[in-house]
Each structure stands twice: as C-alpha cells, then as structure tokens.
C-alpha cells in the first residue's frame, strides 16, 4: 500500500525488528553451542572419543560424501519414509472414510484400533523380521504399524466432529450421505487432514529409523547402529545431524503443500 500512514510504517518497522531479533538469537544459540563444543574439544576438556566434536563430525560427513555413501544412506531412508508415508496417508483416509460411512463398523473396530494404537509396536520388531524378512519391506512395514492406527484414529475423529449444523443443513436440503461427505466432511476437514500429514510424516520417520536400528544394511538408522557398535561416535552424531536436517525438510515440504492447498481452496 502506497498511502500507508506513519503509524502503519512504524508498526511494520517494529514487526521487522522483532523478527530480526528472533532470528539473530536463533543463530546465536547455534553458534555458541557449536563453538563451545569445539573449544571444549580443542582444549581437551571433554573426551572426543565419547563426545566427538564439530570438526570431527564435519570430517566424517565429508568422508561419507567422498565415498559416495552419504547419499545412498540418505536415499534409502528417504525412500522408506516416503513410501510408508504415502501408504499410511492413503490407507488412513480410506479406512476413516469407511468408518464414517458405517457407524456400526466404527463401533465394532473401536477396541481393536485403541489397543493396536497404544501397543508399543517396537515390541513386534523381532516378529516382523521373522515374518517379512530383513529387508526394506520389513522397515516399511514397521513404519506402517507405528503410524497407521494413530492416523486412522485422528482422521476418523476429525470426520466425526464435523460441525453438526453443516450436516443438518445438508440433510434439510435433501442430501444423501455421499453428498454430505463430499460437500461438508471433506472440505471442512482440509486443514485437519494436512495436520495429520505432518503427524504421519514424523511417525513414519520414527518408524523407519526404528526399523533400521533393528535390522538393515543401509540407511541412516543403520549408520547410527553401525557407529555405536564400532564405537565411532563421530559417525553416530553425523548421522543424527543428517536426520535432523531431513526432518526439517519433511516438515517444510508439508508446509509448502499446505500453502499450496490453501491458495487453491481460496480461489
């Protein structure tokens, strides 16, 4: 706006200032942490064999990269996460839809879903290895087990909590159940569904790493496991840092999707 008043400019200036302060402090905390860690390691105040140091971690990452291993491991973890995420998202939407259409089915399955959701799925890890074998598939299966039930319960709950006024309105206009679902339940739950995607992606990620820790030949989880077994703490910490970067990327991608969908629904 060209004709913004002095007050408005002041408001924008303050807002910008606040943002700069927040970002500066965020960077500062990171720098202090890394520098402090490095200094403690340099002056041998901490044991780098146990606690590593930033320069050692960077060295490890560079070595991994030059050996062409880094992206193979990232690729495997990424692949497993994306595949399980897609399967969970599609399955949970389908099953929640089914449950919404049949209250009876929902009532019948309720105790099973609750138990399966609260069961610590890691306990099933060894069984999965026996059943599915020690492969990428078993890791994807693990991720599915961990995320699917939670996702179904969440989405179904959202569907069920659709504003009853919308439904009464559509019924008074003579809508059938499919029309109610398409015209009120889905559109009013778009933001809930996207939120659920965020949960799905992090749960799948947890599941994949857990699976890789249990059994794998490649992937970031494998690197961590391997690093611990040979007492290569540099490798473990390097892998954890890559995990963190990936987690941020996943979150960022879903946020982009969210913005895209919001733009589309508004137009």
């Amino acid at each position: 706006m060209s004709n913004s008043s002095v007050e408005h400019k002041e408001f924008l200036r303050k807002k910008r200032k606040e943002k700069i302060i927040v970002i500066s402090f965020q960077i500062l905390i990171l720098l202090v942490f890394i520098c402090g860690w490095e200094l403690l390691a340099r002056y041998e105040l901490i044991n780098t064999f146990l606690l590593s140091s930033p320069s050692l971690v960077i060295n490890t990452l560079v070595n991994l990269f030059t050996d062409n291993d880094l992206f193979t491991h990232i690729g495997i973890t990424l692949y497993e996460t994306v595949v399980s995420f897609l399967i969970v998202t599609v399955l949970s939407l389908l099953i929640s839809t089914l449950l919404w259409f049949s209250k009876r089915l929902a009532r019948i399955l309720d105790p099973y879903l609750t138990v399966l959701n609260s069961l610590p799925k890691v306990a099933l890890g060894p069984l999965i290895i026996i059943w599915v074998g020690a492969s990428t598939n078993s890791i994807i299966f693990m991720a599915l087990l961990i995320s699917l039930f939670l996702s179904i319960i969440n989405v179904y709950h959202n569907f069920k909590e659709t504003d009853s006024n919308y439904i009464t309105l559509l019924r008074s206009l003579g809508a059938n159940k499919l029309q109610i679902f398409m015209k009120a339940v889905i559109p009013s739950n778009i933001s809930n569904i996207i939120n659920n995607l965020k949960i799905n992606v992090s749960m799948c990620y947890i599941g994949v790493i857990m699976g890789e820790l249990l059994v794998s030949k490649k992937g970031l989880g494998y690197l961590i496991m391997y690093g611990t077994q040979v007492f290569n703490i540099d490798l473990v910490i390097a892998s954890v840092i890559v995990l963190g970067i990936l987690a941020f990327l996943f979150y960022y991608l879903i946020c982009l999707l969210e913005k895209f969908i919001q733009k589309k629904t508004v137009n």
Partner: protein, 250 residues
Amino acid sequence: MKNNILEITHLSKNYQDNDGEIEAIKDINLKIGEGEFIVIVGPSGCGKSTLLSILANLDKKSGGDLKYYKKDIKVGYMLQKDSLFPWLNILDNCLLGLKIKGKVTEEDKEYVLKLLDMYGLSEFKNKFPNSLSGGMRQRVALIRTLATKPDILLLDEPFSALDAMTRVMLADDVYKMVKDLGKTAIMVTHDIGEAVSIASKVVVLTERPCVVKKVYDINYDNRSTPFNNRKEKEFNYYYEKIWRDLDVKL
C-alpha cells in the same frame, strides 16, 4: 378464507433413550393456510423445534398425520445458525441446495442472482462468508433456502444468534422476502415481540409434552412492516395475552 396448504392432525413425537421414553410432542392439531406467516411460541424445551424438524423431514413423527394439499410440496428449512460454508463464496453457498438436487440451470442461477440483487447482496456474491456481518450472513442463509423455491418456509429461531438491533431490522427483511415471493412461513421463536410483530397467526404451545394452548389471529388495523407493527396499539394487547399464556416463571 385462504386455502389450506398443510393440516397437522394428532401429531406426536417420542424420543427413546436408555432410561425410557421422553414425550416431546403430545398432540398437535393445526391448519396452515397458504401465504400465512405462522409463528410458534412456547416455553423453552417445549418441543417447538422438534415440530419444525419433523415438518422438515429431519425427524420422524411417532404418530398422527401430516396432510399436504399440494402435490410434491417443497419445504425449505432455515436453521438458527447460518451455517454458511466458509470454503464456498456467497453465490455457491446460495446454490448449495440446487446443486444437491441435481444440476444448476441458468434459470436457477438467474433466480438466485436476482434474489441477491433484491436484498443488496449482489456485490458480495464472489466474497466469502467471513467478510459478511451476522445480519448479512443470515440473509444469505435465507436466500439459500429460497433458492430451491420451497412452498413452505420453516424458520427455526432465525434471529436468535443476532444482536438486538440487527434482529429487528432483519425481521423486516425476512417478512418482506416471504411476502414478496408469496411463501407460506412457519417460524419458531421464544421472543414474543418478534412473534406478534411478524406473524399473521401466533400458536402458543404448552410445556413439554406440548399441545396447542392457544391460537391468535393477529390483526392490525394498519398492518405494515414488523418494525412498524411494534408501534401499533394491538401489539401490546397481543403481547400481554401471550405473555400471560406462557406464564413465565423463573
């Protein structure tokens, strides 16, 4: 004497739950003439909204009979909350009922556009509901109901979510819309002033399980808009009577 459009005889409604049966409506007999503006008042929880949802086909009656004197009668139902879909623009919200019934013809669309234009909403047709005031939203909700060209309009406390000034003004608008289009309307309210100012007939119900306690034909020497009717001498007369019928106790 006007032609009857609907006759309700011995209508009753019970709700079932684990503890037994709750009788909501005991026995309602009512004749509704074409073009009438019926307002139903009664103590809160007496079953007046239940009566409307039975007429709107949202609830099943337990007994009695509804007789329509017109083939393929269409009923339009307007809820307390406007329930406009925030993800649809005003025009699409208004076309919702038609879309559900099937495809929207050009003629339908023109009719809706004409209604929007008549009530000063045409400039908002591409806007979304959150940019409209409460009164405007409720007018859009009424147009959405009218879009399907119902013969009978059922209004369930349509003004109760609005502030005092807006409700009085909106009552005028609704009255005008209903009269302009020659619709029959059945409205439920707990506001006696609103009832007496807008109705051609006020039906007073008893406490639950309800029966019809009294029916008043509301006659004004100078009938005008609901807002102006409030200033007529008859207004206070009916108001007093209905107040006493309802026997409000705290």
